[in-house]
């Protein structure tokens, strides 16, 4: 997992609530057995006017000029701003993979669906929850000023706006530490292998049918 600590970037506004994982990466692209290459089909049904199929060169697609991410000013945006319940629906990790592959590092929204939130953190994509009023202010600022930027500091847990206002956000210390250091969960859990084995032998004596 790639480390993350601090990032200043243009904010791309996706002004919708309940952005679901089917919208983030439609099902026809889930057939891949790889973790990469999903970025070109991120928000496929919104981003292109022609129906998307796996294996088609994006250069040959018909781009939807009205979709916000297709505007030049957001070409280098690494921060996505959205509304309530971002990432709801399916557990597909292809959703954060697509967002990362496209180039996003941070998603800011008033709330996230649980599975998406977890999946993001495990891939080095930082989901930041800010109050709905703050998000609303940010949307207004983004629409008012082309190329509006914010600074995200994970170490100090704040988002600093262009007006130098700092909005603090919460994240588990454990998750923050993993992101800052780019740590792999599995290695960490396996360092507790003895405890897992002790659990198993206790459970096996109490509920033997679980082991038959």
């Amino acid at each position: 997992m790639e480390k993350f600590s601090r990032l200043k970037s243009v904010v791309a506004p996706l002004d919708r609530s309940n952005v679901d994982t089917d919208a983030i990466i439609p099902k026809q692209f889930l057939k891949s057995i790889k973790r990469t290459g999903f970025g070109k089909n991120l928000f496929d049904a919104w981003r292109y006017l022609d129906p998307g199929e796996p294996g088609v060169d994006p250069e040959e697609r018909e781009v939807n000029p009205d979709f916000v991410l297709n505007r030049k000013v957001y070409a280098k945006a690494r921060i996505l701003l959205s509304r309530e319940n971002f990432g709801c629906g399916s557990s597909r990790e292809h959703a954060p993979w697509a967002l990362i592959d496209y180039g996003f590092k941070v998603i800011i929204a008033p709330s996230f669906a649980d599975i998406f939130y977890n999946n993001s953190l495990k891939n080095g994509l930082l989901p930041i929850v800010l109050p709905a009023t703050v998000v609303d202010e940010m949307f207004k600022a983004v629409f008012l000023k082309e190329g509006y930027e914010v600074l995200v500091d994970l170490n100090e847990k704040f988002v600093q706006t262009a007006e130098n206002i700092k909005h603090r956000f919460e994240i588990d210390d454990f998750r923050r530490d993993c992101l800052l250091r780019g740590l792999d969960d599995i290695g960490l859990t396996l360092s507790h292998a003895e405890e897992i084995k002790r659990f198993e032998s206790r459970q096996k004596s109490q509920q033997p049918w679980l082991y038959k």
Binding site: A23, S32, P54, I115, N118, D185
Partner: protein
């Protein structure tokens, strides 16, 4: 000291260790695997030189990509085929307690085959790389959907890192009206509380209405807990749970069966348990439900109308109603019963079990699918469901009415195989998500119960099935 909720009991009995910030390592008893969310996890294991911790916790099947027609031809789409073949390869390389591959007689939707084989037992922790894993909570399991990184983590360590959820009790009391089913209950609940109300919570469903439901109905309810934002849905163990499990291939046997039953009886929330949130619902007031929009909370009773964005004061809500109506090709204030359908889909992990097919068959018996409906299809949840339905003659009832009778799988719930809506087509579907493009790019989905879908197929538009005589 106050009593424990069912969630708390399941949690406590699976904590391997806890960190100071409340993150815990939970032991996982059952790992269900399918072809879409597992290839990258097995690949990760290989790259790190790791092996699965406990292969006898794994039950696997291929369901998302499999065709529902012409099984003798195999999987024609090469990309789908590669994914299914990759699962075959991974399971034969690493091993599993049970594997029901494509064309196996017990193959089916992962959330149907788990319970029907007794692979899902009360008191277990169950995970699967699929959000509808919440289904298994109907058996008083702590069952959660996970992403592919977590699939790899569970494979490698038999554990899942979790933060404890808050608890949410939804009590449905009273008695249901005739022809109102589990699907209507859960859609009505989501309509009332919204799709994000359960975020960060485990929802326990209780009350007389839930107690009176069959195990199939309870699975439908827990299945859609995720559509209310909750990663886990839960229902206490009772006699129905135990009766359902008795004699299933993977259920405990002999002395274990007696010991298991004793333990399972404790799997209910204590009387004095305190929940973080409680909602009471009058079951008797629930009418058949139909979603009109692009989120499961955009739902109406069958005698209702599509909403008018003008009536919304909140600008974000107004915009979302407007966008949903536009996508769905509907105008405000349209009676739900005037919405005509192009296709009807009866299937999915929400509603493809034997009871669902029985309810739908009761409605279509002796009738015909309307001429205006291009395709009405029934996709049983598993090979076992299919064979049971055929034994009861349900397949003939459907076929005589003009329904297509297909092979089991996820099918048009998410349209990863050839079963999909064309752009602009409108479908009455017993599945769980009406998101934009879910059943095919540009497709329009209305979520309903099996009986409502069956009646809509016959009429060509939605009808209030409380008006119909079933005789």
């Amino acid at each position: 000291m106050e009593g424990k909720t069912l969630y708390q009991k399941l949690w406590d009995s699976h904590v391997v260790r806890s960190e100071s910030d409340g993150t815990a390592l939970l032991y996982i008893d059952r790992h269900l695997i399918h072809e879409v969310t597992s290839p990258q996890a097995f690949e990760g294991l290989r790259l790190a030189g790791r092996k699965p911790w406990r292969t006898d916790s794994i039950v696997a099947t291929a369901d998302h990509n499999t065709p529902t027609l012409d099984w003798d031809k195999g999987i024609v789409d090469p990309i789908s085929k590669l994914q299914v073949d990759t699962l075959d390869t991974n399971i034969s390389a690493f091993g599993a307690k049970a594997y029901f591959p494509f064309r196996d007689e017990r193959q089916g939707i992962v959330h149907v085959i788990g319970p029907e084989n007794g692979a899902t037992l009360p008191g277990m922790t169950v995970v699967c790389g699929d959000s509808h894993t919440s289904t298994h909570g109907a058996f008083a399991c702590l069952a959660v959907g996970i992403g592919t990184s977590e699939v790899e983590h569970v494979l490698a360590t038999q554990c899942l890192m979790q933060k404890k959820a808050k608890t949410f009790l939804i009590r449905v009391h009273g008695e249901l009206q005739v022809n109102v089913s589990a699907k209507d209950i859960i859609l009505a609940i989501i309509g009332q509380i919204g799709t994000a109300a359960g975020t960060g919570h485990a929802i326990e469903f209780a009350g007389t209405v839930i107690e009176n439901l069959s195990m199939e109905g309870r699975m439908t309810i827990c299945n859609m807990a995720i559509e209310a934002g909750a990663r886990a849905g839960l229902i206490a163990v009772d006699e129905k749970t135990v009766n359902y499990l008795e004699g299933l291939p993977m259920s405990p046997k002999g002395a274990d069966w007696v010991a298991a039953q004793n333990y399972w009886k404790s799997l209910r929330s204590d009387r004095d348990a305190v929940f973080d949130k409680v909602v009471e619902i009058d079951g008797g007031s629930i009418a058949p439900q139909v979603t009109w929009g692009t989120s499961p909370q955009m739902v109406s009773t069958v005698q209702g109308f599509t909403p008018d964005p003008k009536a919304e004061n909140d600008p974000i809500a107004k915009q979302s109603v407007q966008a949903a109506l536009e996508y769905m090709g509907l105008v405000p204030n349209t009676p739900i019963t005037e919405i005509s359908l192009d296709k009807v889909f009866i299937g999915s992990c929400t509603n493809s079990r034997i009871e669902d097919l029985r309810e739908a068959a009761k409605i279509v018996k002796g009738k015909r699918v309307a001429d205006t409906v291009k395709l009405a299809m029934v996709v049983p949840g598993s090979g076992l469901v299919k064979r049971q339905a055929e034994k009861e003659g349900l397949d003939l009832i459907f076929k005589q009415a003009g329904f297509a009778w297909r092979e089991p799988g996820c099918s048009m719930c998410l349209a990863m195989n050839d079963d999909k809506l064309e752009s602009g087509e409108r479908c009455a579907s017993t599945s769980n998500r009406n998101f934009e493009g879910r059943q095919g790019t540009g497709g329009r989905t209305h979520l309903v119960s099996p009986a409502m879908a069956a009646a809509a197929a016959v009429a060509g538009h939605f009808v209030d099935i409380r008006d119909q005589s079933l005789k």
